[in-house]
């Protein structure tokens, strides 16, 4: 029990002193997670929309494949991307490995299926009559899509929140593709893994507590928008 109290107090101490290393770590974590969520959102939401609004051969199979990708282990994604961007890989000359960009690429692969499938789910819950009504009123496909997205915005935002939570808490991809270099690619989760490896458990849990505090702050902001969207 004292261990958790110690960890909690350590977390407060770190925040109180505004530890410089911690700031670098936190800002990198947020930056990478925001970018990967943003790009996945831009690609994933229209993709989900396109899949759910169109009927085509193999639609069910495609959705099943996307659902399967939800179980893709981070290590597999890490290895896959690694083999492309390492010095010996196809894109080796770009020098991407062990940079924040590499982490973002890996994380996009991780959460794109999440955003796409949850968007499909959110849209499938919308009453078909919205679409029919929009079409009857003479809306073109683009306008129809807009109506549907507006109706499903609550669910779509939930998908994005979930994707963000997934990447900010993720450690495998960040470790393999980022490499945990201090000041360059060390994120909160890789820092936690390192402190655990060093046997500094209090520090590790303290960082975990800070990670939760930050996700709480982010979620409060998102919840505000979601509330607005739900009105």
């Amino acid at each position: 029990m004292t261990f958790f109290i110690d960890s909690f107090r350590s977390a407060l101490l770190l925040l109180w002193h505004i530890d410089k290393d911690l700031l670098v770590i936190v800002s990198l974590s947020l930056k990478v997670s925001f970018f990967s969520t943003f790009i996945s959102g831009i690609v994933g939401v229209p993709l989900g929309l396109a899949i759910s609004m169109n009927n085509f051969r193999g639609k069910r199979i495609l959705i099943t494949v996307l659902h399967t990708l939800l179980a893709l282990p981070t290590v597999v994604i890490g290895l896959f991307v690694y083999s492309f961007i390492s010095r010996r890989g196809l894109l080796g000359s770009m020098g991407l490995l062990y940079t924040p960009k590499a982490m973002i690429i890996g994380q996009i692969i991780l959460i794109l299926p999440i955003i796409t499938t949850l968007t499909i789910t959110a849209i499938s819950r919308i009453d078909r009559r919205y679409r029919k009504t929009a079409q009857t009123l003479g809306a073109n496909p683009y306008q129809t899509a807009l109506v549907i997205v507006r109706e499903a915005r609550f669910g779509i935002l939930a998908a994005i929140i979930m994707a963000f939570g997934r990447v900010i808490a993720e450690v495998g991809i960040s470790m393999m593709l980022g490499g945990n270099a201090r000041g360059f690619t060390r994120t909160m989760t890789t820092a936690m893994a390192l402190e655990f490896d060093k046997g500094e458990f209090t520090m590790s849990v303290a960082l975990g507590i800070i990670l939760l505090m930050i996700s709480l702050a982010v979620n409060i902001v998102l919840n505000y928008f979601q509330g607005k969207a739900g009105d």
């Binding site: 004292t2 110690d6 101490l13 490995l97 945990n180 201090r182 490896d197 046997g199």
Partner: protein
């Protein structure tokens, strides 16, 4: 339900659990925390099966940095530790966590870098080489994980006369504030990359960045010659006295943790320094090169 009906399944359950515990009890397993270098070099894959053949005791290995391996010993999570950081091993013994320490073997550290050696350190003394790297514009990759290799690296920066800076972080331990120290050569700036990972990862990271680093010879040989695509880094500095790397084995003190398997751990320690163990260590070769040198006095 009457009492009789409960009694019969309960009796069967108890008997079965006895049988199971007997079956498990027959196979003796001990837990050992060790450094990533002994595991990555492949040495344990040769030693431990032989030990099991001789004694019937199986060894579960947890490969970590020396800091974490020692921590496992302090917490009584393992029965024995096999590490290479003399200063911290002595501290571990002084604090009463170890039953005894036996010197087992040594190998040496080597300074690695890209074949074209942009800093021009080939064949220098270790301290001079480190100074030259510091004043070049070349990258240096540090383990940064409080491992034995990391300790050696800090020692060498000191030897090179490169100023080390301490970054202190305050935490709370057992209700009291304590500080964690991170020591690094600040003058190197962005040239110094601390990745906080094991030896193998540090080698592949350095290869990727074509940077300088320090490694133990065993792991290097395994990565250079034991794999299909050999590591693309060369040995630039070796054979200096300051690069020696002794390994010690320490069974955890049974007085601190009565439930650890001291008897079996003791057998492993003594087996490693026995003639047979020492011969296996001396004969262990990676691509025809001796990787470890036995240390136990005959």
């Amino acid at each position: 339900m009457s009492r009789k009906y409960i009694f019969i399944p309960a009796a069967i359950l108890i008997i079965m659990s006895f049988l199971f515990s007997y079956a498990i009890g027959e196979e003796k397993i001990i837990k050992m925390s060790t450094t990533t270098s002994t595991e990555n070099s492949g040495l344990l894959n040769v030693l431990l099966p032989e030990f099991t053949k001789d004694t019937g005791i199986r060894v579960k290995v947890f490969a970590k940095g020396t800091g974490a391996a020692i921590r496992d010993g302090i917490d009584g999570n393992v029965d024995i530790i096999f590490v290479h950081d003399r200063t911290r091993e002595d501290k571990f013994m002084q604090e009463g966590y170890g039953a005894y320490r036996l010197p087992v073997m040594h190998n040496d550290f080597i300074i690695l870098g890209p074949g074209n050696d942009p800093a021009g350190i080939r064949g220098m003394k270790a301290g001079d080489a480190f100074r030259k790297i510091a004043y070049s514009k070349c990258l240096f990759i540090s383990r940064g994980d409080d491992s034995g290799t990391h300790s050696k690296e800090r020692e060498l920066w000191g030897l090179a006369g490169v100023a080390l800076e301490k970054k202190k972080t305050e935490v709370v331990k057992d209700g009291k504030t304590a500080s964690l120290e991170y020591v690094y050569p600040a003058v190197l700036g962005e040239q110094y990359i601390s990745i906080g990972q094991g030896m193998g990862k540090t080698l592949t990271f350095s290869e990727e960045k074509q940077a300088y680093t320090i490694a133990d010879r065993g792991t290097y040989l395994e990565y250079r010659y034991g794999r299909e695509q050999g590591l693309d880094l060369d040995i630039l500095v070796e054979g200096d006295d300051s690069l020696s790397n002794p390994y010690g084995i320490i069974p955890v003190n049974p007085e601190k943790y009565p439930d650890i398997k001291f008897e079996e751990a003791d057998m492993l320690a003594r087996w490693l320094v026995s003639e047979r163990g020492q011969k296996l260590i001396a004969d262990y070769k990676i691509q025809g090169r001796q990787a470890f040198f036995p240390d136990a006095p005959k």
